[in-house]
Subunit: 233 residues, 2 copies
Amino acid sequence: MDMKGWYIQTLYVLAKLGALGKALEIDTKTLSRYINTSQQTASRRIVELYKGGYIQRTFSKRRQALILTSKGVELLREVYMNLHMIFNNITSIQFEGMVFTGLGEGAFYVSLPFYKQQFIDKLGFEPYPGTLNLRLKSVDDVAKRRNLELLPSINIEGYSNSSRTYGSVKCYHALVNNSIKAAVIICSRTHYGPDVLEVISPLNLRKELSLNDGDVVKVSVNLRDTMIPNISH
Amino acid sequence: MDMKGWYIQTLYVLAKLGALGKALEIDTKTLSRYINTSQQTASRRIVELYKGGYIQRTFSKRRQALILTSKGVELLREVYMNLHMIFNNITSIQFEGMVFTGLGEGAFYVSLPFYKQQFIDKLGFEPYPGTLNLRLKSVDDVAKRRNLELLPSINIEGYSNSSRTYGSVKCYHALVNNSIKAAVIICSRTHYGPDVLEVISPLNLRKELSLNDGDVVKVSVNLRDTMIPNISH
């Protein structure tokens, strides 16, 4: 990872100055004062953030304008979400979703030895071969689900062979209906949108809770035990 | 200012790891991986943050424990508050307070030429000699008033002569009762607590709004036009 210590600070200053959502006209000298560096360093940082895909840069009549890209915004939003959790002492997130029948791929993927062994090692349980799919009930829950992705997760690595690529998976310890140990999984390669929560568990949740399509299930994600995910920032 | 670009990132990582509110046992090698530096650099950063007063450091049985000091926490809280404003697109903050009679010092300070000229230059108006003191009505407002301090402000510099020191003042553009141009001022040397809002205006607010002690006044702080304050981070 190439992420440098100053990335967050420089993007943060640019956002404060107004480079989030619209282009900010700023010369390198002015920026250097705001980020407390020499002009040369400020100039190098802009180039590096640009090359890293964190900002877009345009010139008009020799004047420079900068705007954060979605990658830059996501990095700051991740910092924001984590600080939000820390300062508000939030250690769990509640979801409610309606059971629906998926395409059955979950069972296939969860059973792949490469994934399965990582689930055992990192989550501490062997998942039942199958995922419980929940359609989230409220817009708030969908927003929380989007934010969840930005929070510390347990990371299951993907792999590639000659014929195809298996994506990485983010996992979060969870409790289903306040009773059954489980994990929410967010697959990097999924065709579900952020209105769907995929849950795995050592138990067959459908059977254990006598669930049918359309039943409502509560999922409480526990953030307390999760290691920080991205060791670079 | 000595603030370096990596301060925010390193304090942020330490907070995520749990060094906020309680001591975190962590060796330098582990930290170096989380902040993406060499072990030597991580070690230097810890020393620098410690010397800067941002973290406390203890050793027990040769194991190092780190905890953010209130200065370190405040820096992160400032980042959090600013990102909160940015991501939630908050451009004003509303307060309600009850008029009370202060000690009359406001009139004295506001009239000092050194301050007065800065008010004119930086706020765009000559303040009426006197401040309107408001006792905030709700705990929420007191919390907002605390947070206000962390947000970008217009800064009036203090000065010292041989006999005494005059503190700096943070100012925020505001509107009183949705009609009268004003500014909220936060004096670094004040004997009021965070439950008090001090307001200045080109007009005599008491007279203009026929205010008596005990009357309730609304103040809307406008954050949109404020320049970013701390050019170092």
